[in-house]
């Protein structure tokens, strides 16, 4: 009986331990930190710029008018131009290379094809660009060169709003043509290239604060554009506006055009009792109120004006049409020299724009009609261009060209953006997206390497692979002059990289040291294991005693 009891007891204890043994592999399986393998080496290659060369190729087709008096060798012209432009592009480039750091290769190859333009007189009445050949590809431009027909001695350049320009040369001579064309091309592209190089070579440099990059919003595939009509005091003036028609009529073309880069969703609101937080200065003798540049940063009453968008999680661009209250009107903006700004508007970098209007308040009610809104919307669109990073080609080009050349630009069509500008924006955004995606992926790989407890699920791995794939595709597309595809892939790359980086499963375990694990295991397992261990110990002791007795 006694013998039997001991056997039964041992059997019972063994059955507990068998269960625990059965649980051990499950313990291992259920607490392992799942880490899908990320392509660290590949990310490293990208971030060191070993994996790719960025190229932003441009191609020019030059139609040279066939003038009887002198003949110009088209083939020579092309090769000479290519050489001179390439050498001028590379001035900066070689300087960068000399500072000893690793060369990040970004190139801007130029291809030029010159063609003889025989019946130019029939094709062209000066200023009538519509009849000329057009190109539909980003990165391809057509220049038409013809002798100056006017009495004006200066060389005249007309840059169209499609991808073409007409150059009237004052002296019909190969070297003059060469110089003018190369000047023009360099002046049109130089600032863009400088910006791209800056992006790529020193993406995080804060040494020189650049106005451009401060003003432009961080890239997002979608922005929320909010138009707000702010009424200072509705008790003496009620305002309304025909914003829907105005947006349809003036803004919609721009929205459609830019949608290739970022989608814009537009909404509007009217807010009453939108008071300023400060008193504007009063000019007693002329009886008006004014704001100085120092006051402008305080203009937005962030606490009370309900401008935060609840509609979407995308970045918001705010445009405010402000109507001051009776006690503060008319309200103007003065520049630092004390002159009243003509537009009465200002731009807030990376935030939006503000226009102040002082409407007629005798009737006690004012409706901003479609006609009135036209000028307002044109200011808003200018501000929107700045915020989205559309650069005025002409202001930059005018500075770069030599004084004897007069340059004119065809005004943008109702899309508010010319093809030159649009192409330039696309190229900048591609460069920015590629650089940002690489930086994000690099941060991700650093984070994963540094924190061994971090869970990396399969979908993160997939996203990283897809992001790298899209980066590679984007670079190949750039190389092949397919800018639209390159933009598409760079957008994809940045979206994937960011969704991987900000994935909630990544952040849940950011900090989980080993001592936490003890705190989790101890309260349950110590009480459970004590009786089991004691029982085991006693059995072993009995076993030894029995052995000795025998």
């Amino acid at each position: 009986m006694k013998e039997n009891n001991g056997k039964i007891r041992r059997l019972i204890i063994t059955s507990f331990y068998i269960f625990i043994l059965f649980g051990l592999p499950l313990w291992w399986k259920t607490t392992e930190v799942y880490r899908a393998q990320l392509p660290f080496a590949e990310i490293e290659e990208w971030s060191n710029w070993e994996a790719f060369d960025l190229e932003f190729p441009t191609q020019f087709i030059i139609y040279v008018a066939n003038v009887e008096t002198s003949t110009i060798n088209c083939a020579n012209l092309s090769s000479n131009l290519e050489n001179s432009i390439a050498s001028r592009y590379n001035v900066n480039h070689s300087k960068e290379a000399s500072n000893g750091k690793r060369q990040k290769s970004v190139r801007f190859p130029v291809k030029i094809r010159s063609l003889d333009w025989s019946d130019w007189k029939n094709d062209l009445q000066y200023g009538n660009l519509e009849n000329l050949n057009l190109v539909s590809e980003n990165g391809q431009y057509i220049l038409y060169i013809l002798p100056n027909t006017n009495s004006n001695p200066n060389t005249k350049v007309l840059v169209g709003n499609q991808r073409q320009a007409i150059i009237e040369i004052n002296q019909w001579d190969t070297s003059v043509i060469e110089k003018t064309v190369s000047d023009l091309i360099v002046s049109l592209f130089m600032s863009e290239q400088a910006a791209i190089k800056k992006f790529i070579i020193e993406p995080l440099s804060n040494s020189k604060v650049e106005l451009d990059s401060m003003r432009t919003m961080k890239y997002s595939p979608q922005y929320q554009v909010t138009f707000s009509l702010m009424n200072g005091d509705p008790s003496d003036l009620l305002v309304n506006w025909d914003i829907e028609e105005a947006v349809d009529k003036y803004l919609q073309f721009f929205v459609n055009k830019i949608s290739m880069i970022s989608n814009l969703t537009v909404d509007s609101q009217i807010q009453h009792y939108a008071r300023l937080t400060f008193e504007p200065y009063h000019k007693a003798d002329e009886n008006y109120f004014f704001l100085t540049p120092e006051l402008l940063p305080h203009f937005i009453n962030a606490a009370e004006w309900n401008l935060a968008s609840a509609v979407s999680s995308y970045p918001t661009l705010n445009f405010i049409l402000y109507v001051p209250s009776k006690e503060q009107s008319p309200l103007y903006i003065q520049d630092s020299k004390g002159n009243i700004a003509e537009s009465n508007a200002f731009l807030i970098p990376r935030w939006g724009g503000v226009i102040i209007k002082n409407p007629e308040r005798s009737t006690g009610i004012h409706n901003f009609s479609l006609e009135e809104l036209k000028s307002i919307m044109s200011i808003f669109i200018t501000q929107l261009r700045g915020l989205l990073g559309v650069h005025d080609v002409w202001t930059e080009a005018k500075h770069a060209l030599d004084v004897t050349t007069s340059i004119e630009f065809v005004t943008p069509p109702n899309t508010a953006v010319t093809m030159w500008e649009f192409d330039s924006l696309i190229r900048r955004r591609i460069a920015e997206n590629i650089v940002t995606s690489i930086t994000t992926l690099k941060s991700l790989s650093q984070l994963v390497t540094e924190i061994p407890n971090m869970v990396v699920l399969d979908h993160i791995q997939t996203e990283v692979f897809l992001a790298l794939d899209n980066l590679a595709k984007s670079c190949t597309n750039l190389y092949n002059n397919q800018y639209n595809l390159a933009l598409y892939h760079s957008k994809k790359a940045i979206e994937l990289a960011e969704s991987a980086f900000f994935d909630p499963t990544m952040v849940s375990m950011l900090y989980f040291p080993d001592e936490h694990k003890y705190a989790i295991y101890m309260p349950l397992f110590v009480p459970i294991s004590v009786p089991l261990l004691v029982a085991l110990h006693r059995e072993i002791k009995n076993f030894k005693i029995n052995k000795r007795v025998k």
């Binding site: 009986m1 039964i8 059955s15 068998i18 269960f19 649980g23 259920t30 349950l524």
Partner: protein, 420 residues
């Protein structure tokens, strides 16, 4: 049975029937009980069953709604009941309770015959055995049973299957016994652990019945496996897909629904770090099953007692326990009425049950409706309830062991036993 016995039985069953039928007439009582978290759980709720039934009858896969987690055969049963007037659903629940109680009386009777030749304590020789009708009475008039029945909790199907499984096993009807325990496993998974003591019913007396122990074990396991695959196939043909596996056993095992109940799981897994969730699920589920083998070995001569202990463990450590589970295992206690004199904490456990019955609704109200308490209030009560159950089980185990010891060692009866 004598005519007096029969009279007692009719009285008890008639009164139990009447009480239930009358209480069923108060629809507000049944509604309140049907929504109490202590009584119905996501896997036994009649409301959820109605939802699943509605989807099923309208040609929508019943598990698509994500609210219904019960076995497909229940759908078929209630669809058939649906053709009858509403009162028949209530009658079905009452009837099942009565059948269960009637089986209990038979089980008690068979048990008393089985133990007839067992040695007894001297003082027990004079006493009469407990009247089996009283055993049924204890079950039928247990407030937990009545509440569970009135709430139309489908746990009654599991309980009835378990009892029928025991009943037929005690009658050595192997295929029926295995069928009903398979049915219970099929309905709520945990009764699987009762298969060991049931097999012991067959093996313990195998030789005297002229059977081979090994072949008994194999035939039991074989019957269990074939019944189970049969039931699962039937369910598959009923709902047309295997979705029900994830929606029923998946829910029981993986605990996606953290509705509060009187168990230990919900609070723990609300607070759990996600990283460790799967690990502790494994630990908790293994913990429920870890007692299956040791208890069966320890009480290998008393399989019915093993069933009592194991169904108690089930009622405490399953993922979605309700008072219906407790009512089942408490029904076994009167069958073993001879151990009650050895139990030391009867007063304590009785008080704990009363205490929990009163405070649990109050604390739940404070937490959910009044907002003056938090989840810890209700969880504290579930802990107390669990402790009460555990004390009762430990006490019963002790009493059983001590009684057996005293029977075999009558001279040591007056000594206290100390574990060293």
């Amino acid at each position: 049975m004598s005519s007096k016995d029969k009279f007692t039985g009719v009285l008890i069953f008639g009164a139990a029937f009447a009480v239930r039928l009358i209480l069923f007439q108060f629809s507000n009582i049944t509604e309140i009980l049907g929504s109490r978290v202590e009584i119905v759980t996501p896997v036994t709720s009649f409301t959820r069953l109605t939802e699943g039934l509605y989807l099923f009858e309208n040609g929508v896969p019943p598990y698509d709604g994500g609210a219904f987690h019960q076995a497909p055969l229940l759908l078929a049963f209630f669809q058939l009941l649906g053709y009858l007037p509403d009162i028949f659903t209530k009658l079905a629940f009452i009837l099942m309770d009565l059948i269960l109680a009637y089986c209990l009386t038979d089980i008690a009777g068979i048990k008393q015959q089985l133990y007839y030749n067992f040695p007894k304590l001297e003082i027990e020789l004079k006493d009469n055995e407990i009247d089996p009708w009283i055993v049924a009475g204890f079950y039928l008039f247990n407030p937990l049973t009545i509440a569970s029945c009135l709430s139309k909790s489908t746990i009654i199907f599991t309980n009835l299957s378990i009892i029928l499984g025991i009943y037929y096993s005690l009658k050595y009807n192997k295929s029926y016994g295995m069928f009903w325990i398979t049915m219970a496993t099929y309905l709520s998974f945990y009764p699987f652990m009762l298969i060991l003591p049931l097999i012991l019913f067959f093996t313990n007396n195998a030789e005297s019945r002229g059977k081979n122990i090994k072949s008994e074990i194999f035939s039991c396991v074989g019957l269990f496996a074939s019944w189970l695959s049969g039931l699962l196939m039937l369910s598959y043909f009923l709902v047309g897909s295997w979705d029900f596996l994830g929606a029923t056993y998946g829910v029981i095992l993986l605990l996606p629904d953290l509705t509060p109940n009187i168990g230990l799981f919900w609070y723990f897994f609300i607070e759990m770090f996600d990283q460790f969730r799967s690990f502790f699920l494994v630990v908790f589920q293994l913990h429920a099953f870890i007692f299956m083998v040791p208890v069966s070995i320890k009480f290998r001569d008393h399989p019915l007692f093993s069933i009592f202990i194991l169904s108690g463990i089930m009622a405490i450590f399953k993922s979605y326990p309700s008072i219906g589970d407790a009512s089942l295992y408490l029904a076994f206690l009167p069958i073993y009425s001879e151990i009650i004199k050895y139990m030391r904490y009867n007063f304590l456990t009785t008080n704990i049950f009363c205490y929990c019955s009163i405070l649990s609704p109050i604390f739940y109200h404070l937490w959910i409706y009044a907002g003056s308490g938090n989840a810890n209030f209700f969880y504290a009560i579930t802990l107390v309830y669990t402790i009460g159950n555990i004390i009762l089980l430990v006490d019963a185990t002790f009493a059983m062991s001590r009684r057996e010891f005293d029977i075999w060692n009558p001279d040591l009866r007056n000594y206290e036993i100390i574990q060293k």
